[in-house]
């Protein structure tokens, strides 16, 4: 299914190296990262904990600057955070002093979009994350999964070029997580967004991604990339049966072996 604007190079990371801290106590977090993210992709990053996945996300978001190498978005250096790259954190950072509605409207408001348009955007995305009717609730009245859906709607409301997600479903229970995966897949398909998604769950990565990047233990390097399409099958068949197939297991085992080889016992 070729889509409009697909394969356009969105994020271009070249020879990225990232060192934390000063000379004596410095830590090499990322080394020699080369990664391209094309529009329309659903890119999942897997790796042992502490491998620098989050550091990579923060660099793309613009929260930290590369020590050397470059991190470009549409050919321009990423200088700092901006609304073209939306971020969903592991714990939903909803602002408790604002209602659900105001949280979702925050981005468009910051960009001084006309009021009636903000209202339309808010209604649309609250509906898309299946929270229509929850607009006036306080954020702390919601369950964990609902909070994460608001966080997602809040990011979507800005129509970012790419959404960066840092283990967004990591703190949710298995059932909620399953529903959230279906939801994010539908939204990705429907809105034709680009998603950069960190997870430590191989099945989550396989069932969502169009491409999977496996990272090594620290210093984080990219070990291998996998192009997969199970997410399309799950979407088209509206069933997760594909995860019982031979080729799914083959990829899963290869990825697991790769990750296990990185974990020191």
């Amino acid at each position: 299914m070729p889509r409009n604007g697909e394969n356009e190079l969105l994020i271009d990371i070249n020879n990225l190296k990232l060192v934390y801290g000063e000379k004596a106590s410095s830590i090499l977090a990322l080394d020699n990262i080369n990664l391209q993210i094309k529009s329309g992709e659903f890119l999942c990053v897997l790796g042992p904990s502490g491998c620098g996945k989050s550091t990579l996300l923060k660099t793309i978001a613009g929260y930290i600057k590369p020590t050397s190498g470059s991190c470009l978005m549409q050919g321009k250096n990423i200088e700092g955070p901006d609304w073209h790259r939306g971020v969903v954190f592991q714990s939903p950072t909803l602002y408790p002093w604002m209602s659900v509605k105001d949280n979702v409207e925050f981005g468009p408001k910051m960009r001084d979009i006309p009021k009636d348009e903000i209202k339309k955007i808010r209604t649309f995305f609250l509906e898309q994350v299946k929270l229509a009717g929850f607009g006036d609730k306080a954020t702390f009245e919601l369950s964990g999964g609902m909070k994460q859906r608001v966080a997602l709607a809040r990011v979507l409301a800005n129509y970012p070029q790419v959404i960066l997600m840092d283990e967004p479903f990591g703190a949710l229970d298995a059932l909620t997580r399953d529903n959230m995966q279906t939801l994010i897949r539908e939204i990705w398909k429907e809105n034709n967004t680009t998603i950069f998604f960190i997870t430590h769950d191989v099945d989550e990565a396989l069932s969502l991604a169009t491409r999977i990047v496996v990272m090594s233990k620290r210093p984080g390097k990219i070990l291998k990339e996998f192009n997969v399409g199970f997410t399309h099958e799950i979407f088209n068949n509206n069933s997760k049966d594909v995860i019982y197939k031979e080729d799914y297991f083959a990829v899963k085992n290869e990825i697991l072996d790769l990750i296990h080889s990185q974990i020191e016992v």
Binding site: D82, W83, R85, G86, P96, F106, A138, V155
Partner: protein, 275 residues
């Protein structure tokens, strides 16, 4: 069979007990005060101390009614209370409007903290009355010196609360706001300020307590009006019933104001504890 649902019910109710005072606890509070009153009554009834030193509850009540009706030394009690609270409110108003921005800025920028913090840390542990004498010399014995004294007493707790509030703020709030397109100014007003409000409020409540005690002491040192002055004047003439009335009024107004502040806090910072 009958016992099981009862046990369950108790289990369900128990978390409520932690947050709200149960009936038993309320009764205990009331009982404490009744005991205090009873002991007071007995002490005066048995004439353990002379009536000039410890007046009976009834006499204090009568004095209270007279003071309400006729005032003290011909000046209405409301004038005294008004004088005290005028000083307190002006000083606290000044303290809030200066300490909140300075405290938040100090939390934000280390350079501003380097300028202000050491000064606050130096004078904060000093008993306010120690420098009150200086303030009286400089600004006269009138309201000006008292307002400045209370301002200084109230400034420190608010300032310190603001600095620590900014330090403790969840960094992800700020990062996510930036990623949603907020500029520096909006991050400050839409995110940093509301996120700090709970601690600012705690600071204001502490400041109120400190300023109130300082106010009464200051009025006892040098004043011609105010509730503290009334008590001091009464002690000069050994009117212990007036002293009792004065102290009880101070206690009750303090409790009422703190309750008012807490009520405001609940309304404004309804989300407290959910950050």
């Amino acid at each position: 069979m009958k016992f099981i649902p009862q046990l369950n019910k108790e289990k369900l109710l128990s978390p409520k007990k932690v947050t709200k005072k149960s009936k038993v606890e309320k009764r205990l509070t009331v009982l404490t005060w009744l005991t205090i009153l009873a002991i007071w009554y007995l002490v005066t009834e048995l004439r353990i101390f002379s009536a000039t030193l410890v007046p009976s509850p009834y006499k204090v009540w009568l004095t209270f009614l007279t003071i309400l009706k006729e005032g003290y030394n011909g000046v209405s009690i409301w004038v005294h209370l008004g004088a005290s609270f005028r000083r307190l409110l002006i000083a606290l108003g000044l303290a809030v409007t200066t300490a909140v921005p300075l405290g938040l800025l100090s939390g934000y920028f280390n350079k501003i903290e380097a300028i202000i913090d050491s000064v606050v840390e130096f004078y904060r542990p000093l008993p306010p009355l120690a420098y009150y004498t200086l303030l009286v010399l400089w600004f006269g014995i009138d309201d000006k010196s008292k307002v400045i004294l209370l301002f200084l007493a109230g400034f420190a707790p608010i300032y310190i609360a603001c600095v620590s509030a900014v330090r403790k703020i969840n960094q992800d709030y700020i990062l996510s706001a930036k990623s949603l397109g907020a500029d520096q100014k909006r991050v400050f007003f839409k995110i940093v300020l509301p996120a700090c409000l709970p601690e600012i409020f705690t600071g204001i409540r502490t400041a109120f307590g400190v300023a109130y005690t300082t106010l009464v002491s200051a009025e006892m040192v040098a004043a011609t009006s105010g509730i503290g002055w009334m008590v001091l004047d009464a002690s000069n003439f050994l009117k212990s019933d007036v002293i009792f009335v004065g102290i009880i009024i101070m206690g009750i107004t303090g409790v009422i104001i703190d309750a008012g502040l807490r009520f405001l806090e609940k309304k404004i910072i309804f989300w407290k504890g959910h950050v």
